[in-house]
Symmetry: C2
Subunit: 417 residues, 2 copies
Amino acid sequence: MPETIRAAILSLGTEITNGIINDTHGRFLSAELSAMGIRVERICQMRDDPENIPVVRELVGNHELVIITGGLGPTSDDMTREAIAEAAGVPLRFDEELWGLLTGRYRLSVAEANRKQAFVPEGFHVVPNPLGSAPGLWGHIEGCLLCALPGPPRELEPMFVQSIREVIAEQLHLSIPEEIEASSFLIPEAMLEDACQRSADGVVSWRTRFQPYRISLYIGGGEREQQESFLRSLQEHFGYGLIQPGNIEPARIVFEALREKGWRLTTAESCTGGLIGSLLTEIPGVSSYFWGGFVTYDNQAKERELGVKRTTLEHYGAVSEETALEMAVGALQRSETDIAVAVTGVAGPEGGTAEKPVGIVWIAVACSDGQKMAWRFDFGNRRNAVRRRTAVAALLLVDLMAREPNRLDMVKHWHYS
Amino acid sequence: MPETIRAAILSLGTEITNGIINDTHGRFLSAELSAMGIRVERICQMRDDPENIPVVRELVGNHELVIITGGLGPTSDDMTREAIAEAAGVPLRFDEELWGLLTGRYRLSVAEANRKQAFVPEGFHVVPNPLGSAPGLWGHIEGCLLCALPGPPRELEPMFVQSIREVIAEQLHLSIPEEIEASSFLIPEAMLEDACQRSADGVVSWRTRFQPYRISLYIGGGEREQQESFLRSLQEHFGYGLIQPGNIEPARIVFEALREKGWRLTTAESCTGGLIGSLLTEIPGVSSYFWGGFVTYDNQAKERELGVKRTTLEHYGAVSEETALEMAVGALQRSETDIAVAVTGVAGPEGGTAEKPVGIVWIAVACSDGQKMAWRFDFGNRRNAVRRRTAVAALLLVDLMAREPNRLDMVKHWHYS
């Protein structure tokens, strides 16, 4: 066994090579394998075609682990079983037990064509698939562990996590990584990477995953205590709020905060145009905590819907502390809820001035106990990034105001650029 | 030259094989090449690593076209130039003209490390890159055309469309496909595929691409007239509105319609929680046509913000024709704009009843000339799909009401499930 375990991932599917669908297995599997310390050398997508049988042989010859996805279906161009048998130099055997499982599951609807799916390369093991008709397979070809997984992501991902990952760990003498998950908000990628590198102690490892409203952070290596200390050092560096434990959407954080306090929220949105309300209402059951909102894109809408004074708009402008505060207070009074958040900013590309360039956003929060505060942010110069960051900041501010108002002075250190 | 041109795509990047980022070039390039009639045999992602030089040699030996992406940067592990030179058996030559272009563009900021980027394998052609420092390269190695493109998608995609596609067509004696683009809304994938198959005449071909709020449809093959007739037959089959020419977001369609009419729009959203306003305000310049909206998630918000009568809510329920119409009329009166759209539905997973199961949505439109109408839809049982489909339908209804009110009776044939 070499020190570094080298792996190749091969996804079969003509829909992929025709550009009709995107391969998603490569990324999923390479992230999982990398977390186990395996070096992924090559990810390939090929047609589901008998011509490709020699490729399997070549991959097996050059790697300690090969994962094949797809090509395990019942039709004649599903060639994975044949390719494995050929590469291993063994025959395919009809597996009565597997056939019994398939016929038992699908009863009379198992077509004769599905018989193909009960053939197994001699010496290979079967992994049952509760979510489809294609079972998984694994076995050794000389010094290589070969695993075959069904193509549909909703079958592949659970089979990998529930069975194949353990097979790989056991057969290749590796341990399954114990990771803790965290979420980072409003932190540019390079800055997060930099802070991770500075917090690293040579034992803890990390990987990140971009999501539209956060970066998910997976912390592995070392003991749980070391991982937690790594996370704490990031939290201390960026300040409470921007790094939170758990892989969690900002809208979910607010939902939990509102539920904890028994509060109801109202939104007043200008530059985000309804995005904050839209994110909140993605969460089932939010209706007990989200009253509704006001989308006041036009200045007239700010006056009519929220009672923002015309003199405020004229004197300070729509993007100002004063307007943001009047929007929040107006939303709170009209709804008679517990907390309101208001956003107003210059999303661009037009509308920026020297004093208020594109990216300047004011966010205000008002509470039924009379507290109100507003903050100014600079969220960069790309319209949809400004809108997304504004929504995230507004949600995080509601959470802070509800659960940790004594930490609100940290917000002045939040910045994006 | 064989009848079928076989192609391989190789993307280099350690961030891909570590699972940190997803490869997107494979799909983009394979769709483009497939549309030109080229058969993509293999898509590969590998580390950016000198070990991989032999793979380039192997791909060149087995394909008529090889496209390499990435590995053209200035750092020492950017190996694409070396790999090409090695596969071609030619030296790398310093290209004074290219160096002049780079230093001219970046002036004094071109580091000595960038000199590497001015080396070109002998006999290869340079494709200038106005968006970055890595130029494209192309040339022949025996019977294979090899093209190298920069890794960042925002540099690769324009370079392919503006230059490399023509190089491939010219060098391999192919024609660049003339496709027409269309968009389909609220049509399930299988149903669209089925209709395409029934409309096909053996000459026209099509491919689709999923987007969050539409399916983009690319119609190729045959003459322009045949492609247009194929599109018309789909429009006749599904009805006006659900198949539209052009690759276009529903919010953009509404923006164009409002601009054409000089109208201003107001939204009143319950189950979508602000999604419709959020989609509209993604479009720069929409502020002249979008006044704002009311997010009336709670029944009290429907009463207070829009003046929906409590008796209406009690008698007909929040999800009803009567409530939807009162919401639209209330939004119109409060904003004094030209048109208002209101949505109210059961997004689920809770809240469904036998009479109004999850997925039932009422959408109403009211105009300043006194016209008002409402429609009932069934958008399935997945919360976020119900919300997305509701937003799309609401936008399409505004467009119809503004531009083609005489076609509104077709809406009764719209259905999702």
